[in-house]
C-alpha cells in the first residue's frame, strides 16, 4: 500500500500547527518508551514546550501481540506553554493490531494513524481479539473517520537492514527507530540528537557498534521513507515556544525528586541515605540514587518496606538524612514505624509515589488515593507534614522543602508524588545553584543546657546524634515526658504531648506562603486541587476564564498543615469544586475543616484528568446545572448529570 497516493509527486506541503499530540503504541517489547522519550528529547531541544504520558502494563512481557501487553507513550508538544500531555491524540503510531485496538478510541476525528501493516496479519489480528477475517484497517468505520497510513514498517526495516550483519531478531528490534524516523520526518524534526544517543549508548557504552549502525540506519530509513514516498501529502511544523531563555533539561518527576534529595543533602551537609524496597512506580528513584555514590549518596535496598523505613529512622537518629521511598502498599507497611518517628520526634523523609489501589491495585497507573492514608493512616493521633508536588519538575523543589521542614521542625514529612508526574516529563529550566538557601541544621553540644525533649521556638526538640559527649540519652516509642524525655505514663503529660505533636505540625504553617488564587481573589467558583492534577486543572480553568466564566484555581502543595489563609480564600468564592483522582479525600478534609459545601469531580480510572472533563464539571457548577449530589464522575470522558 505504499503506492497509490493520490497527491502529486512533488506536493509535499508543510502545514504549520500550534501543537500536536503524538502517541507511540506497540508491544511492551517494541521499544515504544524509548521512541517516545527520544521524540520528547528532540522536541524539547528544538524549543517546544512538552508534556508526556508514558502508559505501560504492569506485566514486564505480557503475551506478545495481546491488548494486555500494549505499551504506549504520549507526547504533547507545542509552540506555547502547555501543562498536560493532551486530551486527544492527533497521531497514533500503532505497531500491531493490539496497539491499534487499545488506543484508536483516543484518536481525534480526522486524526492520523500510522499502522505497521506488516503486523496486521491473521495471527496478530487474532491475538488482538479481532474476529476471523476482519482487519480494522479495511473497516470503513475507521478508514472514514481517520487518515490511516498503512506502512509495512517491519518489512521495510528488514529490507533496510538486510546487510547489517545482525540476526533477524536484532533487526526486528530496530523497527521502533524506523517508526521514529518516519514521525521525525512527519513533524519536521532533526534526527541528530537521536543518532548521537544511539551512538553513545550502543557504540560507546555497550560496545556494540554494529547494533548502533543498524539502529541509525533504521532511523534514517524511516525518515527518508517519509520524504520519498508519496504516501504522505503533508508534513507538519510546530514552531518554537516562547520559552524563557536559558539552559534546560527534560526531566521526569522521579528524576527531579532524586535531584532534589541530593541537592538537599548538599545544602544541609548531611549524607543522604535512601532506604527502600523496590516497588512500582517508585523504584526509579532508587536506580538513580544508587548511581550517585560520588555525591556521597548511600542507598540501601532493604529486605522489606518495614526494614526500609526503620533503617531510615536509624539514619536520622544517628544524625544523617534518612529517606525512604515507596508506593501505597509500602506506605501501609511503614505506618507503625512512621509513628515511631513521630513519637521520637526525628526528621524523616517518606516519598510516596501513588498508584491505583487498594491492595496491589493498578501498579503502573496513577491515582491520588493515598491522601487520607498519609494524613491519618497510623495508630494513635499521629500528625505529620504532607506535601505534594504539582508537576515533574516541581518534585525538585518539593524534595528540598521537605528536607528543610523535617530538619527545622524535627518531624517526618511525606511527599505525595504519583505515577503520572513520576513518569511524565517536562522541560526544566535549570535553577541557579548559587541562589539556593542553605538548610540549617544545629546539633546541641552543651550537656548543661541539653534536655532530650526540650523545645525551641518552633516546638522542635534538639537533635543530638550518638557520638556527642555528655548528651547520652535514650528515646523510644513509649510516651515521653515533655522536656526530660523520660518514659511517662502520666495522664496529663500524655494529653500535653498529644497536643504538642499537633501544635508542632501547625507551626510549620508559619513558614508557608499564603495561597494566591490563579485568576481572581473572589468569584463564582474556586477549583481547588493538589498534586499531579495541576496541569489539567490550570488548563481547564484558563479555558473557562477565556470563555468568560468567573473561575479561579488554588493548587495546594501543603496538605498538612494547610496554608493558614486557605479558609479565608474558600469563603471568597460562591462555590468550590475539588477535582481529585480518588473518591473525594481532600474534599472530606476541606468539608471537615471549613464546613464548606465543596463538590467533587472524582475519577479512579488509572489515568490523569483530561482537561475537557474538568471543563465540563466547571461548566456544570458555574452554569447552575450541577446535579443534587456531592460529586460527579466522568465516564468515557463525559461528565454526566444523570
Amino acid at each position: 500500500m505504499i503506492a497509490g497516493s493520490e497527491t502529486g509527486a512533488s506536493a509535499k506541503d508543510t502545514q504549520k500547527i500550534a501543537s500536536a499530540v503524538v502517541r507511540f503504541a506497540g508491544d511492551s517489547g517494541d521499544g515504544m518508551q524509548l521512541a517516545g522519550t527520544q521524540f520528547t528529547d528532540t522536541s524539547a531541544a528544538v524549543g517546544n514546550d512538552v508534556a508526556t504520558l508514558p502508559d505501560f502494563p504492569a506485566e514486564i512481557r505480557a503475551p506478545a501481540g495481546t491488548v494486555a501487553g500494549v505499551s504506549g507513550f504520549q507526547i504533547n508538544f507545542a509552540d506555547a506553554e502547555i501543562h498536560t500531555p493532551g486530551d486527544v491524540v492527533n497521531a497514533l503510531i500503532a505497531m500491531n493490531p493490539a496497539a491499534f485496538k487499545a488506543h484508536i478510541d483516543d484518536v481525534e476525528q480526522g486524526g492520523i494513524v500510522v499502522a505497521n501493516d506488516s503486523e496486521f496479519n491473521k495471527i496478530n489480528l487474532k491475538k488482538a481479539g479481532y474476529p476471523e477475517g476482519y482487519n480494522p484497517l479495511d473497516d470503513e468505520v475507521f478508514t472514514q473517520k481517520f487518515k490511516i497510513y498503512r506502512v509495512p514498517i517491519t518489512r521495510l526495516n528488514e529490507e533496510a537492514l538486510a546487510d547489517s550483519g545482525l540476526g533477524s531478531k536484532d533487526v526486528g528490534r530496530c523497527k521502533n527507530m524506523f517508526a521514529l524516523g518516519l514521525i521525525y520526518w512527519m513533524y519536521d524534526r532533526p534526527i541528530d540528537q537521536t543518532t548521537s544517543y544511539i551512538d553513545n549508548y550502543f557504540s560507546k557504552k555497550k560496545k556494540m557498534p554494529q547494533v548502533a549502525a543498524a539502529n541509525i540506519n533504521a532511523l534514517k530509513s524511516g525518515f527518508y521513507f517519509g520524504e520519498t514516498t508519496e504516501m504522505f501529502p503533508v508534513r507538519y511544523q510546530v514552531a518554537k515556544a516562547t520559552i524563557t531563555p536559558g539552559k534546560y533539561r527534560k526531566i521526569t518527576g522521579n528524576e527531579a525528586l532524586t535531584l532534589g534529595l541530593v541537592a538537599a543533602s548538599k545544602l544541609s551537609e548531611k549524607t543522604c541515605i535512601y532506604c527502600t524496597y523496590p516497588i512500582t512506580p517508585a523504584s526509579d528513584i532508587l536506580h538513580s540514587l544508587a548511581a550517585m555514590r560520588n555525591y556521597g549518596v548511600k542507598t540501601y535496598q532493604a529486605e522489606d518496606e518495614i526494614a526500609a523505613v526503620c533503617a531510615a529512622i536509624g539514619v536520622s537518629f544517628a544524625g544523617q538524612m534518612g529517606v525512604t521511598g515507596t508506593s501505597g502498599p509500602g506506605l501501609a507497611l511503614k505506618s507503625e514505624a512512621i509513628g515511631l518517628a513521630v513519637m521520637t520526634e526525628l526528621p524523616l523523609i517518606i516519598v510516596n509515589v501513588q498508584r491505583g489501589g487498594p491492595s496491589t491495585g493498578l501498579p503502573t497507573k496513577t491515582e491520588q488515593s493515598d491522601l487520607l492514608q498519609a494524613m491519618y493512616g497510623r495508630n494513635g493521633d499521629c500528625p505529620l507534614v504532607v506535601l505534594a508536588p504539582q508537576s515533574p519538575a516541581d518534585c525538585f523543589d518539593t524534595a528540598i522543602e521537605a528536607v528543610r521542614i523535617a530538619f527545622r521542625h524535627m518531624v517526618p514529612v511525606i511527599i505525595m508524588s504519583d505515577g503520572y508526574i513520576a513518569n511524565g516529563a517536562e522541560p526544566w529550566l535549570l535553577p541557579d545553584p548559587t541562589t539556593f538557601e542553605k538548610i540549617k541544621v544545629e546539633h546541641p553540644t552543651d550537656p548543661d543546657s541539653f534536655e532530650v525533649y526540650g523545645r525551641d521556638e518552633n516546638l522542635a526538640r534538639p537533635w543530638a546524634p550518638p557520638g556527642t559527649p555528655g548528651l547520652e540519652h535514650r528515646i523510644g516509642g513509649l510516651e515521653k515526658e515533655n522536656i526530660s524525655g523520660n518514659v511517662s505514663y502520666d495522664p496529663e503529660n500524655h494529653q500535653e504531648m498529644t497536643n504538642l505533636r499537633q501544635a508542632k505540625i501547625q507551626k510549620v504553617a508559619e513558614f508557608i506562603a499564603p495561597v494566591e488564587p490563579h485568576g481572581d481573589g473572589s468569584g463564582d467558583l474556586l477549583v481547588l486541587g493538589w498534586g499531579g492534577t495541576y496541569g489539567s486543572i490550570i488548563t481547564a480553568v484558563d479555558r473557562a476564564r477565556a470563555a468568560g466564566r468567573s473561575v479561579s484555581a488554588v493548587h495546594l502543595r501543603h496538605l498538612n498543615p494547610l496554608p493558614s489563609n486557605i479558609g479565608d480564600v474558600l469563603k471568597r468564592f460562591k462555590k468550590v469544586l475539588i477535582p481529585e483522582l480518588n473518591t473525594g479525600q481532600l474534599r472530606m478534609i476541606i468539608r471537615d475543616r471549613f464546613l464548606v459545601d465543596a463538590k467533587g469531580l472524582n475519577k479512579v480510572q488509572g489515568k490523569p484528568f483530561l482537561v475537557e472533563e474538568i471543563e465540563q464539571a466547571i461548566e456544570l457548577m458555574v452554569d447552575n446545572r450541577w446535579p443534587d449530589r456531592v460529586s460527579v464522575i466522568p465516564r468515557q470522558h463525559k461528565v454526566s448529570v444523570d
Binding site: 539552559k247 556521597g296 544517628a318 514505624a337 557520638g467
Partner: protein, 339 residues
C-alpha cells in the same frame, strides 16, 4: 587541647543510667545487664560512642538502663534500625538487645538480613522460651507440647534453634551463654571484639512465666553433664568428672561417648570455630540427647556492610570526582533556549 589527653577510665557503674531497673525481681535480665556493663567498661568503650538498640519485650527495656545512647524501637525492627545507625555512622559501637519473640518471631526477617549483611552490631538474644511482657504465651523457642495461656492443650509449633537460624543466615559470629553462668562475660567480650554481626543467644530465666526452663543447664548438680564448654582447638569434653565427650560415628554423626576403655581425648571431635559445618552440627545438639554447646560456635572474618558501602562512595568519588550542586543539575543532556 593536647591530643594525648587521657580519657577517664570508666567503670561498670558509669554505664548505669539514672533509671530504676524495672524487671521482675529474680529475672535473668539483671545478671546479663551487669555483665554487659562490666564488659563495656573493661574494654574501655566510650559512653558517647555506644548505642543500645532494642525492639519490644522485657529484654528490650535494656537501653533505658545503660548510660549510653539508646533507642527502644518497635517490635522486631531493631536490626533494621541498627543497620541505619551503622550506615550513618560506622564509628559507633552498636549493640542490639532482643528476645526470642522479638528477634525470631515478629522480627525474624530483619534478624536474618542483618546477619547476612554482616553489619557490625553485637546482637544479644535473650531466650527465655516464653512471651513475658504479654504475660506468658508460647514463643518460637518454646518446646512442643508446652502448655501456656495461649496453648492450653500444648503447643503444636515446632520450635526453632536460634543458633541454626543464625548460621544459616550467614552470621560471622555465633555464640551461646547462660544468664547466670560465669562464662557469659567472656562470650560477650568476644562478641564485642568481633568485627561484623555477632550473634549471642543467652539462655535467660523468666522466673514468672517459665521458671527453671533451663534448670538442666544451670542446676549445679546436673549442669556439667548437660552443657559443653567450647574451646577452639580443644576436644569436646564434658561431664562433672570430665569423662565424657563427643565423637563422630561412622556416618559422621555426633555421639556421646565415655572416655576410657580405649577411647581417649584424642579420639574426640576437636572444636574448630572456623568450620561452618561443624558449627551447624553443634547448633543441632540439644538436651536431653546431647550436652548443649556453650561459648563461641562459629567465627570468621568477613567484610562489614557499612564499610563496603562507605568504600563504594569513596571509590565513586575517586573515579568520577565529588559531585556538586552544579554537576548535579548538569548531569544529563541539557539544551539551551536562546533569547
Amino acid at each position: 587541647m593536647p591530643t594525648d589527653v587521657e580519657m577517664p577510665i570508666l567503670t561498670a557503674k558509669d554505664f548505669a543510667s539514672d533509671q530504676d531497673v524495672r524487671w521482675c525481681p529474680g529475672c535473668g535480665d539483671y545478671a546479663i545487664l551487669n555483665q554487659v556493663r562490666k564488659v563495656v567498661a573493661k574494654m574501655g568503650r566510650r559512653r558517647e560512642k555506644t548505642v543500645f538498640v532494642s525492639g519490644i519485650g522485657c529484654s528490650s527495656r535494656f537501653p533505658y538502663y545503660m548510660n549510653t545512647y539508646g533507642f527502644h524501637t518497635i517490635h522486631g525492627r531493631a536490626p533494621a534500625i541498627a543497620t541505619g545507625v551503622k550506615m550513618a555512622n560506622p564509628d559507633l559501637d552498636v549493640w542490639l538487645v532482643t528476645g526470642d519473640g522479638d528477634g525470631l518471631s515478629i522480627g525474624g526477617n530483619h534478624l536474618i538480613h542483618m546477619l547476612r549483611r554482616n553489619v557490625d552490631v553485637n546482637m544479644l538474644l535473650f531466650n527465655n522460651r516464653i512471651y513475658g511482657l504479654t504475660k506468658g504465651q508460647y514463643s518460637p523457642t518454646s518446646e512442643e507440647g508446652k502448655k501456656t495461656k495461649s496453648s492450653p492443650s500444648g503447643s503444636i509449633d515446632m520450635p526453632l534453634s536460634p543458633l541454626s537460624v543464625a548460621l544459616a543466615a550467614e552470621a560471622s559470629f555465633v555464640a551461646r551463654a547462660i544468664d547466670v553462668d560465669r562464662a557469659l562475660a567472656d562470650v560477650i567480650e568476644r562478641a564485642a571484639k568481633h568485627k561484623g554481626s555477632s550473634f549471642v543467644e543467652i539462655y535467660q530465666d523468666c522466673n514468672i512465666f517459665n521458671h527453671k526452663a533451663f534448670d538442666y543447664a544451670t542446676d549445679k548438680a546436673s549442669k556439667l553433664d548437660n552443657v559443653i564448654y567450647l574451646e577452639h582447638g580443644k576436644p569436646l569434653v564434658f561431664g562433672k568428672d570430665r569423662n565424657k565427650g563427643i565423637w563422630l560415628d561412622n556416618s559422621r554423626k555426633p555421639k556421646v561417648v565415655t572416655l576410657g576403655q580405649g577411647i581417649t581425648e584424642e579420639n574426640l571431635l576437636i572444636h574448630d570455630e572456623n568450620d561452618e559445618k561443624h558449627a551447624f552440627m553443634l547448633s543441632r545438639m540439644s538436651y536431653p540427647d546431647f550436652p548443649e554447646p556453650m561459648g563461641v560456635l562459629y567465627r570468621i572474618k568477613d567484610d562489614c556492610y557499612e564499610d563496603l558501602l562507605a568504600e563504594q562512595v569513596h571509590d565513586a568519588i575517586v573515579a568520577k570526582g565529588a559531585g556538586t550542586l552544579d554537576t548535579l543539575l548538569e548531569s544529563n543532556d541539557t539544551y539551551t533556549i536562546e533569547a
